[in-house]
């Protein structure tokens, strides 16, 4: 962690160093600043900006993109550079700049010609400057540098007198609004060379580039920008040195930070003063009034809670018999038909007497609250058993399946389908005996016209494929669920698992079971054949009854002996 922080700090320092060491103004900003300086006669400053634009920016072009939807037209820093150099009486550099401008053919020839005339005038006035060394100016940042050689072609000698130029359209960048080169329409007198002033800003020659109409007076330049408190060359905020802006920025940032801090503190204070929000994600309790009594039963501790009901440990007053009392949630009772169905299914379950089915002793109602009194069992659910064991030995798995199949065979023969067979509904007693719970209870949750099982009350890990699309679910849906349970007993996990219950359902409908060879835990082919038959997508391909399944399971158990 410390190493990473150090690396980050070093990288940041390097970046900042690079930033400090470089000019961080865009080339188009340099160009615009150069034009502004040129217009105001700050020749030396303009030269610096044009050279920077040439170094950082693209080659001169008739059309150059800057940022956004802005384009510069007739982008030719060489032309302006040449003009400024002429004003600074540096004819050799000006000649080279002019030569480059002519090479890129961006600016109109008359304009170039005008400058050429002035340049020759300058040369003829100060022949001593000829042949001086000129610097190298790289062009376009990533382009090859252009040698500003003094070997500029000699222009034809021109009379140092007025030269009329043809008017041209003003070159302004639409949108960008950057001032283009001024159009020269007035006579351009040749300046008189002043030895020793080549590196200083000089007053502009009378209107070297003036507006085509009623040209405004060119402001008199001064020797240095600082001396006159001039605006920054790049036309920034107009602050000397930029320092006040930074001070202002710091003040603004401090104010913003203070406001943010105050709001943050207030928010937290307010939040701290409030009672912590409570959101119970799951779980609805069943409120039972009447002093904890329901019919002849006195309610004790909560045994469990499901999507539809809460199960209490209860004692019957008459004989002190202990039972498990299932009481529907209050919310379920808003459905007028629920109570009737609950009672009816309870009566149906009461008729089931089988050693592998949890017995329903009593069905009743008290103060509008129906209830079921069931056999109270001491043990764990198969779900809990699996959670601890991971998976079970093959023999134990088959024994459990046999016990469940016997219960199903009995219930199916009586016309009762479980519809929600899953490890949570199977009790494993301390003796090892198996008991199936909640036969028919799931059916209760439906409504007339919308009735069915509560297969989707939780994750449908054990739901048969026909649960969604089939118009009728029969006893073979229970056999499919039993197949999934057998798979889980052998492998430690259900075959179709996903974070979405509906995705699980889709997998039941379409995804094939894993192949025998791909199973993480080895399974005998004969046992696997039973799993595959139980888990067939087409219910016609499954066992036609639990009795048929029992034949195969008993045979497999016999083979293990």
């Amino acid at each position: 962690m410390r190493g990473r922080t150090l690396l980050l700090a070093v990288a940041l320092a390097a970046v900042l160093q690079a930033g400090v060491a470089s000019a961080a103004v865009q080339w188009y900003e340099h160009y615009e600043a150069g034009l502004a300086a040129e217009e105001q006669g700050r020749w030396e400053e303009a030269v610096g900006h044009f050279r920077a634009a040439l170094r950082l920016g693209p080659r001169p072009r008739a059309r150059v993109a800057t940022y956004g939807q802005n384009f510069l037209f007739d982008y030719d820093p060489f032309l302006h550079l040449a003009h400024c150099l002429i004003e600074l009486e540096r004819p050799d550099e000006a000649a080279e700049a002019l030569r480059q401008s002519e090479r890129f053919r961006v600016s109109p020839r008359p304009r170039l010609h005008a400058l050429r005339v002035r340049l020759e005038g300058l040369r003829s006035a100060s022949p001593a400057d000829a042949g001086q060394k000129v610097p190298t100016v790289p062009v376009g940042g990533d382009d090859e540098p252009v040698e500003m050689s003094p070997s500029a072609p000699a222009a034809e000698p021109v009379e140092p007198s007025r030269t009329a130029q043809e008017p041209e359209p003003a070159a302004t960048a639409p949108g960008g609004g950057m001032p283009g080169p001024r159009q020269s329409v007035s006579p351009t007198p040749v300046p008189v060379a002043v030895p020793g002033r080549a590196t200083r800003d000089t007053p502009p020659s009378p209107a070297p580039f003036v507006e085509s109409e009623a040209a405004p007076p060119v402001p008199a330049p001064v020797a240095t920008r600082e001396a006159a408190g001039e605006a920054s060359p790049s036309g920034g905020a107009g602050f000397p040195g930029g320092a006040p802006v930074m001070a202002a920025a710091v003040v603004v940032a401090a104010v913003v930070a203070a406001i943010a801090l105050v709001v943050l503190v207030r928010t937290r204070r307010r939040a701290a003063g409030e009672t912590p929000a409570t959101l119970v994600v799951r779980g609805e309790t069943t409120q039972v009034g009447g002093g904890g009594r329901l019919g002849p039963y006195v309610l004790g501790t909560t045994q469990g809670r499901g999507g539809m009901a809460t199960t209490y440990r209860a004692t019957r007053s008459a004989d002190a018999a202990t039972v498990a009392l299932k009481v529907p949630h209050e919310s379920c009772l808003v459905d007028e038909g629920f109570r009737t169905r609950f009672m009816r299914e309870g009566e149906l379950g009461r008729a089931l007497h089988h050693p592998n089915i949890v017995r329903i002793h009593d069905v009743g109602e008290d103060r509008g609250r129906p209830y079921l009194a069931m056999e109270l069992l001491e043990g764990r659910t198969l779900k809990q058993e699996l959670r601890e064991a991971g998976r079970l030995p093959e023999r134990r798995a088959l024994e459990i399946v046999r016990a469940i199949a016997e219960a199903l065979d009995y219930a199916h023969a009586k016309g009762v389908i479980h519809r929600d067979l899953k490890p949570e509904n199977i009790m494993v007693l301390a003796s090892g005996a198996i008991k199936v719970m909640d036969f028919g209870i799931a059916r209760v949750a439906g409504q007339p016209g919308l009735t069915g099982t509560n297969l989707f009350l939780g994750t449908p890990l054990y739901a048969a494929p026909e649960s969604v699309d089939a118009r009728h679910v029969d006893h073979r849906a229970d056999l499919y669920s039993l197949g999934i349970i057998l798979f889980e007993l052998l492998q430690g996990t259900a075959p179709f698992v996903s974070e979405s219950p509906f995705r699980v359902l889709e997998m039941h409908m379409h995804a094939p079971l894993p192949t025998l060879s791909s199973l993480p835990q080895p399974v005998r082919p004969a046992v696997w054949a039973v799993v595959e038959k139980l888990c067939a997508k087409d219910r016609q391909a499954r066992y036609d009854s639990a009795a048929s399944l029992l034949v195969d399971v008993n045979r497999l158990l016999h083979d293990l002996q």
Partner: protein, 487 residues
Amino acid sequence: MKGRWRRMLLRLAAALAAGVSGANGQEGPLDLGLVIAQQSRPSFSIIGAGARAAGMGGAFTALADDASAASFNPAGLALLIRPEVSAVFAARRLERSDRDVVGLDPGNPVRYSDTRVSFSTGDVNFASFTVPVEAWRRNLCLQLSYHRVIDLEQVSDRRFSGTPAAGQPVEVRQRIDQHGDIHALSVAAAYQLTPRMSLGTSLNRWRGQWDFASLNELRASGEATGAVLSYSQDTAIEGWSWNFGVLLRYPRLDVGFVYRTPYDATLTYKARVRGSFLPAAEPPREALSLHWPSSWTAGVAFKPTETWRITADYYRYYWSKMDIRGVEIEREDGTKRVGSVNFFDLHPSTETGTLDAGNWHLGSELTLFAGRTPFQLRVGYFQDQQPQGLVAVERGRQLDEGFSGGVGVKLGPFAVDLAYQRLKSARRQVQFIDPRIVVTEEPLPGQIALARRTVREHRLFLSLLYQFSRATTDRALRYLFVGPAGE
């Protein structure tokens, strides 16, 4: 009692959200996140503003060189050298159809009739004021902006009937009115560190306010009355966040990266409920803490020529870390603890099934000229993965796919851009049918249904931008911070 009401009302919100937009199939019934994510809009991705960017499919992180830059990459502001004001108007039309609707009741499946709803909305989507100044001989650009990030307008009214295999047909009506948005007020700053590199940041004040009202009814055909539920809720959200951006520019390639910090927001809501099967209630306003996770975007812009841009952005959202905090969670053994739950599926954060999302956006811009007037043609393609993975029945994530096109023109200091986007998504998902689902522990058979939902959304963006002279702002700043010349 207070807890019970809160629980019930949250469930109401979730269920009704699902009812209108189809999304309540999770094991956890309190899908509060769906109030925003599902019912509010089809797309939950947060994309920047501007018709120019919209025309390029939202792939703008590596360009970000106009006034809408801060909403994509604040570093791009450093490229601006002129003050700009901009405004973006957005309109959208949403068409949603549900077909093959079958009640989830294996014993007696109910076939529902197809439905189709559509509505249109429009409003100001973005507005900004940008000022570049010079500091330490570098460009420093400041921007104030308003961005309507998530449009929560929605109006729909649909009626459909169900025919069970056995029993009496039923009639369903679901009506919803929702108005409001989640917007951000931002202060952004960008600095040109080197000619190649610029850095930017923005401080965002998030505020959201939306009112939701619905009416749900299920009754047997021919019956005058049935189960009726009306529910309304006004919700507000507030929070602060930072965005950090970097932009690198090379002759043929630009590279951009943006990191959006996580933040904790307060989420408050007040609900009112009235139903034929439960007493009317108007509990007090509730407050929760909402943790909005970090996200980042990386983008490149390839410049084959001076007038042609090809851009690609990759967005990464960590929706699995979007949590509601300080809530009481019940363990399997009945005991409770205080923790956080995921915003979208309301499972405990450590067990959430919500998936993070990675979105691709591709775009291109070609500039043509009519004389010296540049105008642009733009196209784009994008894929947005939505965080509601659990509600989809089919394998895979919920994916919105879209195309875009746009034009723009620059006339002097004015720029006008127009963009059109078309999104489409189709998937099987869960529908809410019975209003009584709000008082059941978990969905009972027939209370929900499976449907094939198709959503088509048309979006139209219009951007107006005006650049003005830097001298104007220079004078204003000089007056504010320096004083008259010569002083």
